[in-house]
């Protein structure tokens, strides 16, 4: 080793020695970075949802007790979920809207399950800054479009939960859900 480095040093000045040291420094540095990452990962990952939080990922909802025109709020993953039994008039209003009138164009059919268009299921969080809009109860203010009205900054949603007015940029989100029977859904 000493001989070869002396020989190359004779050819290239001190470059051979510098290269070897640089290499060792890079390897040591890279090893330290990988090690630090390997240590940091479990610590950071411990801040992700734990197993018991993930276990709360689905909720069953019985629809039978919900009268026409009435809505209920359930909790899924800590978030309010609006389940509303729409009247025939509300369904018609939602279906008849021209897509060109919408800020976030989406048909009503895309927001309900086929054959169950009296049921609208929404994540009850305003897409503006996260408040819970009013309007799930028949006595609540529902805004000009008969859906939901957000008390924080005045956003208004129609009977399909689409934004019609105000600062909110997008429609109320539809959570993943499926009909288990005609009168029971599983959210999540």
């Amino acid at each position: 080793m000493a001989d070869s480095s002396a020989a190359t040093a004779a050819h290239h000045g001190h470059s051979a020695d510098v290269t070897k040291r640089d290499f060792l420094q890079l390897v040591a540095g890279a090893g330290a970075v990988v090690g630090a990452g390997a240590i940091a990962w479990p610590l950071l990952d411990s801040m992700n949802p734990s197993k018991d939080v993930l276990a709360l990922s689905s909720v069953d909802v019985e629809l039978k007790p919900i009268e026409e025109g009435q809505g209920i709020t359930i909790v899924w993953q800590g978030k309010p979920i609006f389940v509303r039994h729409r009247t025939a008039k509300e369904i018609k209003e939602a279906e008849d809207v021209q897509l060109s009138q919408l800020a976030d164009p989406q048909t009503d059919a895309a927001r309900v399950k086929a054959g169950h268009d009296q049921w609208i299921v929404l994540i009850g969080i305003c897409t503006h800054l996260g408040c819970v809009p009013l309007g799930n109860k028949p006595t609540d203010p529902r805004g000009d479009w008969g859906g939901w009205f957000c008390p924080c900054h005045g956003s208004q949603y129609d009977t399909s939960g689409r934004v019609r007015h105000g600062p909110a940029p997008a429609n109320l989100a539809v959570p993943p859900y499926a009909f288990e029977t005609d009168s029971k859904i599983k959210v999540g």
Partner: protein, 424 residues
């Protein structure tokens, strides 16, 4: 002396910072070119290891606190939640739990190093006393941390240790009520222990800073225990001791990882898997291993107040050690009698540890009394007298002399250095 610091860092951005806040210059001075005796053996790794251990404890502790509930009804279950549900919670908790043991292993070896090589002697008395403060803070922190999982040993450990203060005449019971925030160890106690367990490590960081600052004023001791005489006796801290510390760090991490991954509960007590029950004391109640010697001292004395005083004195005596040891020779290498007696003292401490792990009956009581007696005899009688009687071996002229001179066993070939250590 107002004005910008004259920085010689070439990088303009770093230079701009360093001119206004010369931390880069300071790091260079204290950890880069810092002149360090060139004859360190591996015992001099343990200060750096303890610092790293403290950092590991603080980081894992912060992440544990994100998932722990300091409430008597939730604490035990929240620890199980950490172990089962939280991502890598088992790893973080086992590192924290065994990190406490590793911390004491490292610090006890660090203290032994100080005792063997006379690191507590002038001019390092204050450095040593700050170290004793660190030990006391560590013990308080470890004790309160052990209470947090709220198992049987947590609860009864907290009860017994806080009751130590009831030994003080007159005010004892008032103190204990104050510590508890009630009339037994209960929710208020757990809340404040959690608060203090989170606080004290940061106090530790502060005292460690002072410990290191004092070290950098008086300079490190060395295995020969003689002063640095010339720059030839020293090496720059970097890269020589950063690398040597890194080697020690690898060994330390191997031992640490072996504990965490293969025997995480080896040093724990199975009773702590049972939730705290204020109505039932476990049949075998013992503290964690690192407290066993003090526990044995406490139990060896048949009087409550005296036992408590002896236990606290076993640490407090270290504060005055620099003045109890009358020998002016630091390193045990040159003190033929002390070199043997220090091992007898170590045997007494280990003996106390073993006694502490056994029920206080029969031979264990006798043995723990003999060991307690020798523990104090060593500090209070032997060290003051030995300094006057013992005839030390001739000290080398300088740190460099044993290397360049006839006597072998210098620090350069590390094998040779280790051999001369064993002979010593």
């Amino acid at each position: 002396m107002a004005g910008l610091h004259k920085s010689d860092i070439p990088n303009p951005v770093l230079n701009w910072i360093d001119s206004r806040l010369p931390i880069i210059t300071m790091m260079q001075k204290e950890y880069g070119v810092f002149p360090t005796p060139k004859n360190f053996n591996y015992f001099w790794n343990f200060g750096a290891l303890a610092t790293v251990n403290l950092v590991i404890m603080i980081i894992t502790g912060i992440f544990l606190a994100m998932n722990y509930q300091p409430n008597t009804t939730l604490a035990f279950d929240s620890v199980q939640h950490i172990m089962r549900d939280v991502n890598y919670g088992w790893l973080i908790r086992y590192v924290h739990q065994n990190g406490a043991s590793m911390f004491f292993i490292v610090v006890y070896i660090h203290i032994f190093r100080g005792l063997y090589y006379g690191s507590y002697k002038a001019p390092r008395e204050l450095l040593w006393m700050l170290g004793v403060v660190i030990l006391l803070l560590m013990m308080a922190t470890a004790f309160m941390g052990y209470v947090l999982p709220w198992g049987q040993m947590s609860y009864w450990g907290a009860t017994v240790i806080t009751n130590l203060f009831s030994a003080f005449p007159g005010v004892g019971h008032a103190i204990v009520t104050l510590l508890w925030g009630g009339f037994s160890v209960d929710n208020p106690t757990l809340n404040r222990f959690f608060s203090l367990h989170y606080l004290l490590p940061f106090v530790l960081v502060g005292v460690v800073f002072l410990h290191v600052a004092a070290l950098h004023i008086v300079g490190s001791n060395n295995p020969l225990g003689i002063d640095v005489k010339s720059p030839q006796d020293t090496l720059p801290f970097h890269p020589y001791y950063t690398i040597k510390d890194s080697v020690g760090m690898c060994v330390y991490l191997i031992v640490f990882a072996a504990l965490v991954f293969f025997a995480p509960n080896f040093l724990g007590d199975p009773n702590n898997f049972i939730p705290a029950n204020p109505l039932q004391t476990p049949a075998d109640i013992v503290p964690e291993w690192y407290f066993l010697p003090y526990y044995a001292i406490l139990r060896s004395v048949p009087n409550k107040l005296l036992g408590v005083c002896m236990m606290f004195s076993s640490i407090l005596v270290l504060f005055v050690l620099p003045w109890l040891d009358t020998s002016r020779v630091r390193s045990a290498r040159f003190r033929p009698i002390y070199r043997q007696l220090i091992w007898l003292w170590v045997a007494a401490v280990i003996g106390l540890g073993v006694c502490g792990a056994h029920k206080p009956e029969g031979i264990w009581v006798v043995l723990s009394r003999i060991c307690t007696l020798y523990y104090f005899l060593h500090f209070l009688v032997i060290l003051p007298i030995l300094g006057k009687l013992e005839r030390p071996l001739p000290l080398p002229e300088s740190i460099s002399q044993p290397v360049t001179g006839g006597r072998g066993g210098g620090p350069v070939p590390s094998g040779a250095a280790a051999k001369s250590m064993e002979k010593a």
